[in-house]
Amino acid sequence: MTTSVQFRGVTKRFGSAEALSALDLKVEPGEFVSLLGPSGSGKSTTLGLLAGLIEADEGEILIGDRIVNDIGPEGRDIAMVFQNYALYPHMTVFENLAFPLRARGRRRPESEIESRIAAVAHALGLPDLLHRYPRELSGGQQQRVALGRAMIREPKVFLLDEPLSNLDARLRIRMRHDIKALHAAIGSTIIYVTHDQAEALSMSSRIAIFDKGKLQQYASPFEIYNRPANIFVANFVGERETLFLDGAIATDPALCFRCRDEALAIRPGATNLGAVAGRPLKLGLRTEAVELVPADAPAAFPVTVSQIELAGPDIIVYATTGTGIELCCRVPANRPIARGDRLHAALVPEALHLFDPETGAAIALPALENSQGRREPAAAAFAYKDAVQRTA
């Protein structure tokens, strides 16, 4: 009960504005794909096109190997969960669940409807609520009914449009877990729209990142996080804003990043940064790309602590360099650091993201000969980071 889904050069315009430009996207059978992007980036449009609620202006949409462009939503055999649940207010939970099974052309005998509802209600913990109306349910319960209504038909493709955004934070995390379990159990292809990156990173097999109607990157969560394809993705993914610096890599006298008359030292590592030395580029720094090192470390530059923030088990240290660049790094909360402290920092080569300043696209480094670190650069970086922190 699963199928692939494909967009081929699909464009959708509202008036003269392109809500979606020439989208190419293929979702393999059984995949869990998240569509992630800021508001208005075209996620819901993509979902609506697939559901048949919106008509494409150009391109082809395939479910399995059938082109569905001119098939209405009622003929596409998909199920959808909406942000506001869209439960029919004039029907009880039972009637809501039965509704898809009573549609013309796929009508089921009442006995089967009842047994299926019983099964779904049991799976979602709804049996006691079947005779209530949607307005008599809590948000979480409504959410479950909406999921149940989508599940009950055992569709090949499941579409979820920000299904969790109306729930409180804790419930959201639990439902995240439940949806993943559901996916494991039924194995349908799931396409999940969200603008919450934590949801996308934790649930998906692949993530498609959208901005202004264009697909920016389509890859596994690991790739998305560790190898963002362009500045937009690097900036969009990550718990806080990525810092971008214009400058160039220099190898003389030691490996460093030159920017605003300052040389930010890069500690040695298993990357081939020297290969792009001298080329103007944009450097993207997340917290894990900066670390505090002892003053006598081989690569270090002085910084002054300007602010400290507690973030769970860690603290986020904001540190200013001599020329006023404000960097930001994460250290365990038990380290005694105070505002005004003068410390030393270094850049972590494996966690640096390099972009072309003109196009914004990521710059791929040529492979490093006899390297083992390349396969899992982040893992190497983390290992090194731990070591440094232990010594510091």
Binding site: E28, G59, S205, A219, E223
Partner: protein
């Protein structure tokens, strides 16, 4: 589930097909065809019973008609006859007096009511509902009841005016007073209609504007002049146009309240047309007059549509 291998290092660029597949939308989508089916009964009925009669009426207006038999082509002769007929000209004058008088009365009472009853208190809602009753009941019945009040038979007028020495006034027999009664009838029935149109406009003025003006020390009159009126421009214009369309054409008031009398003093155009067509059976001329009146209406209707679009643009 195994992740599919991405050939590209960054995993971002899907393989580009050599030729961009193109699938343009067909000229009419299935959904669009269905939509036309859904609006079809509406369109057919309106074409059949609103548009066709006008076309046929125009055709008839060019002919001499004897009891529905088209006897000869007359060109615009019917129009000429209508426009030079003393009865029609008199009715034009009566219509002008009536429409302007009724418009002024209705609009000022309606605006006063809307301003005075703006707040949704229980007593205001009650007064609004009561004011609307003359509007929701049959126009015929309303005029009939007013005729009873104004008639000498009821004795109400005599009883009310007796103390002023005007006990034997016969309102409906005096041309000026009858026109006054006709205008009163319009105001009595349609002020609440104006009130509703204007209330909707008033309610869409953000209350903060008034609050801000009050804090700035503006008097009630100043606020009305400089906050309410400018923002009510379109609702007031809409009310004016809609009332005008109504007053220019209405025939029930005059037919029932005064019968057009005394001596044709209150015979408005709607009534003249009715006379011409249904009592004198001069179908050709009646249709000519109807077409003329309709052309005039078209202008007002067009203004109404423009105002409507403008209001929608201001507050969608």
């Amino acid at each position: 589930m195994a992740l599919p291998e991405t050939a590209d290092y960054w995993g971002s660029r899907p393989p580009q097909p050599l030729v961009m597949p193109r699938r343009r939308r067909p000229l009419l989508s299935a959904d669009e065809i269905r939509a036309y089916g859904f609006v079809a009964p509406l369109v057919v009925l309106e074409i059949l019973f609103v548009v066709t009669p006008l076309v046929i009426g125009f055709y008839y207006s060019l002919h001499r008609v004897d009891y529905f038999e088209l006897t000869s082509f007359r060109g615009f002769d019917n129009y000429w006859r209508v426009l030079t007929s003393p009865m029609v000209l008199a009715s034009l004058a009566a219509t002008a007096i009536f429409a302007i008088g009724a418009l002024i009365l209705t609009l000022s009472v309606g605006l006063s009511l809307a301003l005075y009853l703006e707040q949704d208190t229980r007593w205001n809602i009650f007064a609004r509902a009561a004011a609307l009753v003359p509007y929701v009941i049959s126009m015929l019945v309303g005029s009939l009841l007013l005729r009873w009040i104004f008639s000498t038979d009821s004795g109400l007028v005599a009883a009310a005016l007796g103390p002023f020495g005007l006990g034997d006034t016969t309102i409906l027999a005096d041309p000026t007073a009858a026109m006054g009664a006709l205008i009163f009838n319009a105001g009595w029935r349609d002020s609440a209609f104006a009130m509703i149109l204007l209330l909707a406009g008033l309610k869409s003025i953000p209350p903060q504007l008034h609050a801000a003006a009050r804090v700035d020390g503006a008097s009630a009159w100043y606020r009305f002049r400089h906050v309410t009126l400018p923002l009510m421009r379109i609702p007031i214009l809409i009310a004016v146009v809609r009332l005008l369309i109504h007053f220019v054409n209405v025939l029930t008031f005059a037919l029932v309240l005064t019968g057009g009398g005394p001596n044709g003093a209150t015979q408005t155009m709607g009534l003249a047309m009715y006379r011409l067509g249904f009592l004198d059976a001069r179908i050709g001329e009646a249709n000519a007059l109807a077409i003329l009146v309709f052309l005039f209406n078209i202008v007002l209707i067009a203004i109404n549509v423009v105002l409507f679009s403008e209001r929608r643009r201001a507050a969608p």
